[in-house]
C-alpha cells in the first residue's frame, strides 16, 4: 500500500505494509541510515526522530501513523551539522562509538524546542530514555547546556571540535 511521508522536508512515497515500523522504512526503504536500531522495544532511544517537532521513537511505530506528518531525522536536523545541538556536540566532542548519538541529539533538540534553558534535572528527564552504552552522559549534559547557549546567541568556540585545546 503506497504511503506518503514527509521526510526532512521532502515528500517520499513508499509501498510497504502499514504496520512496518517507521525505523525500518527510514533505514531500508529511504536509505536514511543515521537513525539506528538498538532494541526494537522502545527501550534505548537509538531510533529517535522528530515527528511534527516532537522527539519520538520509531522502532515500534507503524509507518501508517506517521503518514502525512513532518518527519525530521538526523540527516535533516542540519545536513552540514550547523544545528545548535550538532555544533555543541562537536565543540565538546561528545561521542565515543557514536552509535546512540543521533538519537541523543534528536532528543536534545526536542528538549530545547520546548525548554530553551534546561536544568540538569530537565536534561536527565528528557534524555533518560536514551541509552549510551559508552556512557558519554557527562559530555551529553554539558553539550545540551552549550547548545542552549548557542541557540540563545552564544558564539561557537571555534570549529575545531576540540574542547579546551591547548
Amino acid at each position: 500500500m503506497p504511503i506518503t511521508l514527509k521526510v526532512n522536508g521532502t515528500s517520499r512515497t513508499v509501498d510497504v505494509p502499514p504496520e512496518m515500523p517507521l525505523l525500518w522504512v527510514l533505514r531500508d526503504e529511504l536509505d536514511l541510515k543515521g537513525t539506528k536500531f538498538g532494541c526494537g522495544a522502545n527501550r534505548c532511544g537509538a531510533c529517535t526522530v522528530h515527528i511534527n517537532g516532537v522527539a519520538q521513537r520509531t522502532c515500534t511505530l507503524p509507518v501508517s501513523r506517521a503518514a502525512g506528518a513532518d518527519i525530521t531525522t538526523i540527516e535533516g536536523l542540519d545536513p552540514n551539522g550547523a544545528h545548535a545541538v550538532q555544533k555543541a556536540w562537536e565543540e565538546l566532542d561528545v561521542p565515543q562509538c557514536g552509535y546512540c548519538q543521533a538519537g541523543q541529539m534528536m532528543a536534545a533538540a526536542g528538549l530545547l524546542a520546548k525548554t530553551p534553558k534546561p536544568t540538569d534535572a530537565d536534561i536527565d528527564t528528557a534524555l533518560n530514555t536514551n541509552l549510551c552504552r559508552c556512557a558519554t552522559y557527562l559530555r551529553i549534559r554539558a553539550a545540551v547546556h552549550r547548545a542552549a547557549e548557542i541557540k540563545a546567541g552564544g558564539a561557537a568556540v571555534g570549529s575545531s571540535g576540540a574542547p579546551g585545546e591547548d
Binding site: 562537536e90 541509552l131 552504552r133 559508552c134
Partner: protein, 758 residues
C-alpha cells in the same frame, strides 16, 4: 579544515593493489610502506614501480596540494584509535594536523601489523613503530629537499608540513617534494631518529574524533549501515540452550511468508564461539524477516546443558566452600598456622553475576560470495584476523580468500573479539547464494553473548595486634573443565594481595559450564577487583586502619614468592611504587579524610592494576534511608606512563569506564534457567536495574555530576587506557556505601542488596 574519514565504500572500490598501482603510476605522490616490510620491498614501492607481490602496507600518501593522507589500521570501536594511531605518524612526520586526512584500512595482515582492538594493547605496541613510520617519511622528504637544493640534510628543518633551509631562506611544502621523495631510499626504520617529547606538537593535544562530523550528521559509517548490490537480509535463530541442535522446524510455513526468499536449517558446530546450530531466514527486508520469524516453530534436540542454572551454580559453590579445594595455585608461608595466631580473623563470601556486553549496535555482518570464490565481508570485528580464520574454516576456504572491510563499531567492550556473526553471515550468504546483511535482534544479542562469567569467593583474613595482615586465603569457585578455566573465569597467582602477605593461599575449585563466556572490558579484573579490594577493605577495618594507609603499608612490604614467577608473570608484575603513586594522588585530590560527611554519605577507595595501567579511584556516594544509592562524585587517578597521547579521548575512556562500572554495580545481571539466559531486552527507562527478564544499562539520570580525571605522569612508556580505569570503581563505591550505612556489599548487583538504614 577538519580531517575526515573515508569509510569503506558500499560500492565495489578498487582493490588496495589496484590503488597502489594507480598511485605509483600516477607518480604524483609519496607512498610510504610499513615498518613490517624489508627495506628492499619499501624501495620497490616508493621507487615508483608498480606494486608487485607481496602486497605492501601503506600508511602515508602526500599529494601536490600538501594534503597528507594517513591510514588508520586498527578497528575503531569508540576508543578513538582511528584518531590516535595517525596522530603518532603525523607527529613524527612533522605535519600540521589540519592538513591530515584519515583513511580507515581494510583488514590485510600482509600490509598492517596487529589489526586488533583488545587488551588495551594498541598504545604500547604502536607507540614506537607508528612514530617510526612518520619519522621515516620525514627523513625521505628531507633528503629530497637536500638533493634539490644541494645542501646537507643537517642544515634543514621542518615544521607543519614544510621543509626549511634557513641559511638560504628557502622552503618547500611536503606536497611539492613528494614525488622526488618517492625516489629516495627509505631509512632503516629501527634507527630512524624520533623526536624528543619536548618537541611534540600533536601528541598530548586534545585532538577531536576523526569521524566526528560523520557521526553528527548521520553518515552510514557503522557495520549495520552497509549496503551492497542485491543485498538480502538475514536473521539467524539459535537454540536457547547453547549448541543444541535443530530437531525439526516448520520451514514451509516460514518460506511462504511475504518477503522471505530462503529458510533453512544450519547444522552448525559445537564451537560456542563459532557457527552454532539454528534456522536461517533470508528475505528482501529485515523487518519482513522478523515477521516471518514469529511464525517459526522449532523443536530443539535435547542437550546435556539444558539443566544448568544460576541457582545450581550458587549451590555448587557452597559445596566447594564446605570442602577441600580442587587445587592451590599459590601457597606462601603457612596460612593454617598463621591464621591461628591472628589477633582478629575476618571471613566473608563474595559473589558476582554473569553479565552481558550489550553493545548498542547489535551484532551484525554483511557477507558476499564473489564469483572468484572469495568471501567479502563488512565487519565490526575487534579481531578481524580471528574472524578471517573462523570464516575460512567454516566455509572450507583459504584465509586469503576472505576479504574484510573494517567498519566502525557501535561499541565493542570485548564482545566483538568473538566472531560468530561473521561465520553466520558467510555461511548463510553461501547457502542462499545472495549477499546478506545479518542483524541480530536485541534478544539474540542478549541471550547469545560471550558472557562475563559470574564467580564466587570465600575469603579468610587474619590481622595481628599491630594491624598487619599476616594471613590471607581465597577460595575461588569458578568455571572450567579439568585444569582449564572457562574463558575469562580464570585467576592468576599474582592477584593482589598476593606478594604482599607472608602467609597466603590461593585455592580454586571449578564446575563445568555450558555457557559461552569471554572477555568483557578489563576481563577478570572487572570482577576480581570487587571481591579482592572489597575484602581488603574489611581487613583494613579489622586492623583499625585507614583503607588507603592500610593498602600503602602492605604495598611497601613485598614477600618473595615461594615459587619463582614465570618470565611472563615477571614481565607483568604490578609495580607497588606506581600503585602507591596513584593512591597517594587520589588521597590528595579527593580530600580523603579531610571532609566531614553527613550520615548516609561516605567515601570509598580502591586501586587496581590491569592491562599495564595503574588506577586508584575515590567515590563519594549518598545512600537514602530507603536504600537508594547515588554517586555524588568520583576522583580517578591513572598512571599510564609518560604521555597521555590524546587527552580528549583518554578522559572519555576513563569517565566511560567509571560509569560503565557503575551500571554494572547498580543492576546488571544475566541469570540462567533450564540452560538458557533469562534476560531478553533492555530494562525500561522507568526502572533503575534489570530483573528476571530485562538487563539494565546505566541511564543519564544515574550518572554523577562529576568524574574528575587526574594523570600521574611517570617515566614509563605510554600504555593503554580502554580498560584499566574500570576495575577500581565498584569496590570504591562499596567502600563509600559501607561508610554511609555500615553495610558491606558482598553480592552484585546492588539491586539485590538491602541498603536501608535508619
Amino acid at each position: 579544515m577538519t580531517p575526515t574519514t573515508t569509510p569503506a565504500a558500499s560500492t565495489p572500490a578498487p582493490t588496495r593493489r589496484e590503488f597502489l598501482k594507480v598511485s605509483a603510476l600516477a607518480g604524483g605522490g609519496l607512498l610510504l610502506a610499513s615498518y613490517a616490510e624489508p627495506v628492499e620491498a619499501l624501495q620497490r614501492l616508493v621507487g615508483g614501480a608498480p606494486a608487485a607481490e607481496p602486497m605492501l602496507s601503506a600508511f602515508i600518501r602526500i599529494t601536490a596540494d600538501n594534503v597528507v593522507t594517513i591510514t588508520a589500521k586498527n578497528p575503531e570501536i569508540g576508543q578513538g584509535i582511528q584518531t590516535m594511531l595517525p596522530m603518532l605518524i603525523a607527529e613524527e612526520l612533522d605535519v600540521d594536523w589540519k592538513q591530515v586526512r584519515i583513511e580507515q584500512a581494510d583488514f590485510d595482515p600482509n600490509k598492517y601489523p596487529a589489526q586488533v582492538a583488545g587488551g588495551s594493547t594498541a598504545t604500547p605496541t604502536n607507540w614506537i613503530p607508528q612514530r617510526r613510520v612518520g619519522a621515516a617519511g620525514r627523513a625521505m622528504l628531507l633528503q629530497a629537499a637536500a638533493t634539490q637544493w644541494s645542501v646537507p640534510v643537517s642544515e634543514l628543518t621542518t615544521a607543519k608540513g614544510v621543509v626549511y633551509h634557513k641559511a638560504s631562506n628557502r622552503q618547500a611544502t611536503y606536497g611539492s617534494l613528494a614525488t622526488a621523495a618517492a625516489g629516495v631510499t627509505p631509512p632503516a626504520l629501527d634507527t630512524v631518529p624520533l623526536k624528543d617529547p619536548s618537541q611534540f606538537s600533536i601528541i598530548g593535544k586534545r585532538i577531536p574524533t576523526v569521524a566526528l562530523k560523520d557521526i553528527l550528521t548521520g553518515k552510514p559509517i557503522f557495520g549495520i549501515d552497509v549496503t551492497v548490490p542485491n543485498m538480502h537480509y538475514a536473521t539467524f535463530v539459535k537454540a536457547p540452550v547453547y549448541a543444541a541442535k535443530v530437531a525439526s522446524a516448520n520451514l514451509d510455513v516460514v518460506k511462504s511468508q511475504p518477503g522471505v526468499t530462503h529458510a533453512f536449517v544450519v547444522a552448525g558446530t559445537d564451537n560456542l564461539a563459532g557457527l552454532k546450530a539454528g534456522v536461517a531466514i533470508v528475505g528482501t527486508n529485515w523487518w519482513r524477516v522478523q515477521e516471518a520469524r514469529k511464525k517459526l516453530v522449532v523443536q530443539w534436540a535435547d542437550h546435556p546443558t539444558s539443566q544448568q542454572s544460576s541457582a545450581a551454580f550458587a549451590a555448587k559453590a557452597k559445596e566447594f566452600f564446605a570442602s577441600a579445594p580442587q587445587r592451590t595455585i599459590r601457597n606462601d608461608g603457612d596460612f593454617d598456622a598463621a591464621i591461628k595466631t591472628a589477633a582478629k580473623v575476618v571471613e566473608a563470601e563474595y559473589s558476582y553475576p554473569f553479565i552481558n556486553h550489550a553493545t548498542l549496535e547489535p551484532q551484525n555482518c554483511t557477507a558476499r560470495i564473489n564469483a572468484d570464490g572469495t568471501c567479502e565481508m563488512w565487519t565490526t570485528s575487534q579481531t578481524p584476523q580471528g574472524g578471517r580464520g573462523l570464516v575460512a574454516s567454516t566455509l572450507g576456504i583459504k584465509e586469503d580468500q576472505v576479504v574484510m572491510h573494517m567498519m566502525r563499531a557501535g561499541g565493542g567492550f570485548g564482545r566483538r573479539l568473538y566472531n560468530e556473526p561473521l561465520a553466520e553471515a558467510a555461511f548463510i550468504a553461501r547457502e542462499a547464494k545472495v549477499p546478506v546483511k545479518l542483524i541480530w535482534t536485541r534478544e539474540d544479542d542478549m541471550q547469545h553473548d560471550q558472557f562475563r562469567p559470574g564467580g564466587f569467593h570465600k575469603f579468610t583474613g587474619g590481622v595481628d595486634a599491630n594491624g598487619k595482615l599476616i594471613a590471607f586465603r581465597n577460595h575461588f569457585a569458578t568455571f572450567g573443565n579439568g585444569e582449564r578455566f572457562a574463558s575469562s573465569a580464570d585467576i592468576g597467582p599474582t592477584e593482589y594481595p598476593a606478594r604482599f602477605v607472608p602467609n597466603l593461599r590461593m585455592d580454586v575449585s571449578m564446575m563445568p559450564l555450558g555457557v559461552p563466556t569471554g572477555a568483557l572490558r578489563a576481563p577478570r579484573s572487572n570482577a576480581l577487583s570487587f571481591a579482592f579490594q572489597g575484602f581488603i577493605d574489611e581487613c583494613a577495618e579489622a586492623a583499625g586502619k585507614d583503607p588507603i594507609q592500610f593498602r600503602i603499608d602492605m604495598l611497601k612490604a613485598e614477600i618473595p614468592p615461594q615459587q619463582p614467577y614465570t618470565p611472563q608473570q615477571q614481565a607483568q608484575l604490578m609495580s607497588a611504587e606506581r600503585i602507591i603513586g596513584v593512591l597517594e594522588m587520589a588521597r590528595d585530590v579527593s580530600g580523603w579524610g579531610k571532609t566531614t560527611l553527613p550520615k548516609g554519605t561516605g567515601m570509598g577507595v580502591a586501586f587496581y592494576y590491569s592491562h599495564r595501567g595503574y588506577f586508584a579511584e575515590v567515590v563519594q556516594a549518598t545512600v537514602s534511608k530507603a536504600g537508594v544509592v547515588k554517586v555524588d562524585k568520583v576522583w580517578a587517578v591513572g598512571d599510564v606512563g609518560s604521555e597521555i597521547i590524546n587527552p580528549n579521548h583518554a578522559e572519555q575512556q576513563v569517565q566511560g569506564a567509571v560509569l560503565d562500572a557503575m551500571g554494572q554495580a547498580y543492576g546488571q545481571e544475566i541469570t540462567f534457567t533450564a540452560g538458557k539466559a533469562d534476560q531478553g531486552n533492555f530494562a525500561p527507562a522507568t526502572t533503575t536495574a534489570g530483573n528476571a527478564s530485562n538487563f539494565s544499562l546505566l541511564r543519564i539520570r544515574q550518572a554523577p555530576p562529576v568524574v574528575e580525571v587526574h594523570w600521574k605522569k611517570t617515566t614509563y612508556p605510554p600504555t593503554g587506557i580502554g580498560e584499566p580505569a574500570m576495575p577500581p570503581l565498584i569496590p570504591a563505591l562499596m567502600g563509600a556505601i559501607w561508610q554511609a550505612t555500615g553495610k558491606r556489599v558482598r553480592q552484585l548487583p546492588l539491586s539485590k542488596v538491602d541498603l536501608k538504614w535508619s
